[in-house]
């Protein structure tokens, strides 16, 4: 059994006091040995409640809200429940055993946490003086356009972005819906997405649809949304119906997740839908698509 270290960041005192006791209770049920460390120690995983406090020394950052959603635990319940901690650490173990050490965190996940916190904090990129501020699902920035900002965020790390107390510098030239920006950013994080989402024994189910057509999208993404919206399915099934690679299917799921859509993991590939046959053939549907210019 492997031994991993973890720390807590952004959790309140009540949580901090409970976690060591909870760890003792769940120890026999964990898939690895976990050692709780203090804030400043080098750790394998850091459970964070607030994106801005993400530990820079951790191999894996576990944003609570995001990961709990992935585990179908809904919203973060404070204090952290003992069974949730168990699932969270076992999930972290499965991530750590497959994630190469150079994969730290996803900038899209970091930004989605900032958006979820709703704090309206101002962040500026030390190298370029580009700033961004997310409030009420709108990102305000002085970047020239969305693509420039997406590229800048994608090519940066969390430490490049400094929180500023001086809101007087906030003179935005651009306002963007945060979900659309997160979607585009998620689509760029190919390596991270593959590591995180391409798990052969896991089935994914999309509980709401991305705004395809309004967000950056391609025709195969419509089929992926149809598939994962209809049933829990593997990455391989996604490849089968879309004609995309495993990496591209993983990227699609990652983009869905970071843009706030709920992606569940399930165990069985059951199709709850029993549909009557439709009076059509694939060639007719293709003709319909061609007619619409798709």
């Amino acid at each position: 059994m492997n031994t991993y270290t973890f720390s807590l960041s952004g959790l309140n005192d009540a949580n901090r006091e409970l976690v060591p006791c909870q760890l003792g209770i769940i120890k026999p049920y964990l898939t690895a040995n976990w050692v709780l460390c203090s804030d400043n120690e080098q750790v394998d995983a850091c459970i964070v409640n607030d994106a801005s406090t993400a530990a820079k020394s951790a191999v894996l950052t576990i944003p609570l809200v995001h990961e709990l959603r992935l585990l179908d635990k809904g919203e973060f319940d404070s204090p952290l429940r003992v069974l949730t901690l168990l699932e969270l650490l076992n999930y972290a173990e499965s991530c750590l055993s497959s994630v190469p050490e150079d994969i730290h965190t996803s900038m899209a996940e970091w930004l989605s946490l900032i958006a979820m916190s709703g704090s309206g904090d101002l962040y500026f990129h030390a190298g370029t003086q580009t700033f961004m501020c997310v409030l009420n699902k709108v990102l305000r920035t002085n970047a020239a356009d969305k693509h420039e900002l997406v590229d800048l965020i994608f090519n940066s790390s969390i430490t490049d972005w400094k929180k500023s107390e001086d809101v007087s510098i906030l003179k935005p030239s651009l306002e963007l819906p945060i979900t659309s920006l997160l979607w585009s950013l998620g689509l760029k994080e190919r390596t991270y997405a593959t590591q995180k989402w391409n798990k052969p024994d896991t089935l994914y189910r999309l509980l709401s649809w991305p705004q395809l057509g309004h967000w950056e999208s391609t025709a195969p993404m419509f089929r992926l949304a149809s598939l994962y919206g209809r049933k829990a399915a593997s990455i391989k099934t996604g490849v089968l119906v879309s004609g995309l690679s495993e990496e591209e299917v993983s990227v699609f799921l990652h983009a869905c997740s970071v843009s706030g859509l709920k992606v569940n993991t399930e165990k069985e590939e059951t199709d709850s839908v029993t549909q009557p046959p439709i009076n059509a053939s694939l060639s007719v549907l293709q003709a319909f698509k061609a007619k619409l210019g798709l």
Binding site: P177, G213, F222, L227, A280, V284, G293
Partner: protein
């Protein structure tokens, strides 16, 4: 070969307008004086059905049907929706009864059209309306595509049709 797409939703949600926007023939309408102007203030409303067409050449046609939105015409709904490849549920989020109508129409039409063949099109809506709609669907254990959509916009309606086609294609690939 005839494909059938059905536009459903309450009175004044934009079904007739949507069909008019994408139909390649002059839509057949069954308009009569609106006796429920206290609900939606427009002079006429559909009492039979709307009908439009998209021509696919040698592959046939796509028939576009609009159901009458008033609940007293619900006896016509299973007749019109029979054999449809999908249904587009239109809602006007500026109407007070929008979410009540949403629940009513989802409940009524999932008896005739499979939930995976639905698309929800929200007119006069924003992102928070999409979130709310998704939450209502999740509460019912349903997953449906939900989009902001202007029934006067050919581009918006093309997205909705693309979703229906993708859902239909999937049935061939999985079944």
């Amino acid at each position: 070969m005839l494909l059938k797409v059905v536009f459903i939703g309450p009175m004044g949600s934009g079904k007739s307008t949507a069909i008019q926007t994408i139909s390649e023939i002059k839509p057949v309408k069954t308009e009569a004086r609106n006796t429920e102007r206290f609900k939606v203030d427009k002079p006429t409303t559909t009492v039979g059905m709307d009908f439009g067409e998209i021509n696919l050449g040698e592959h046939g046609k796509v028939a576009l049907y609009g159901v009458p939105g008033q609940r007293r015409f619900d006896f016509m709904w299973p007749i019109i929706t029979k054999g449809a490849m999908g249904a587009i549920l239109l809602l006007d989020c500026s109407q007070d009864s929008c979410w009540e109508d949403f629940k009513y129409f989802v409940d009524a039409f999932t008896k005739f059209v499979d939930p995976s063949s639905f698309v929800v099109a929200l007119n006069r809506a924003d992102e928070s309306d999409i979130d709310h709609c998704n939450q209502l669907l999740m509460d019912e254990g349903l997953t449906m595509p939900v989009f902001c959509s202007d029934p006067r916009s050919e581009q918006d309606l093309t997205i909705l049709l693309h979703v229906l086609i993708s859902n239909a294609e999937l049935r061939f690939l999985l079944d």
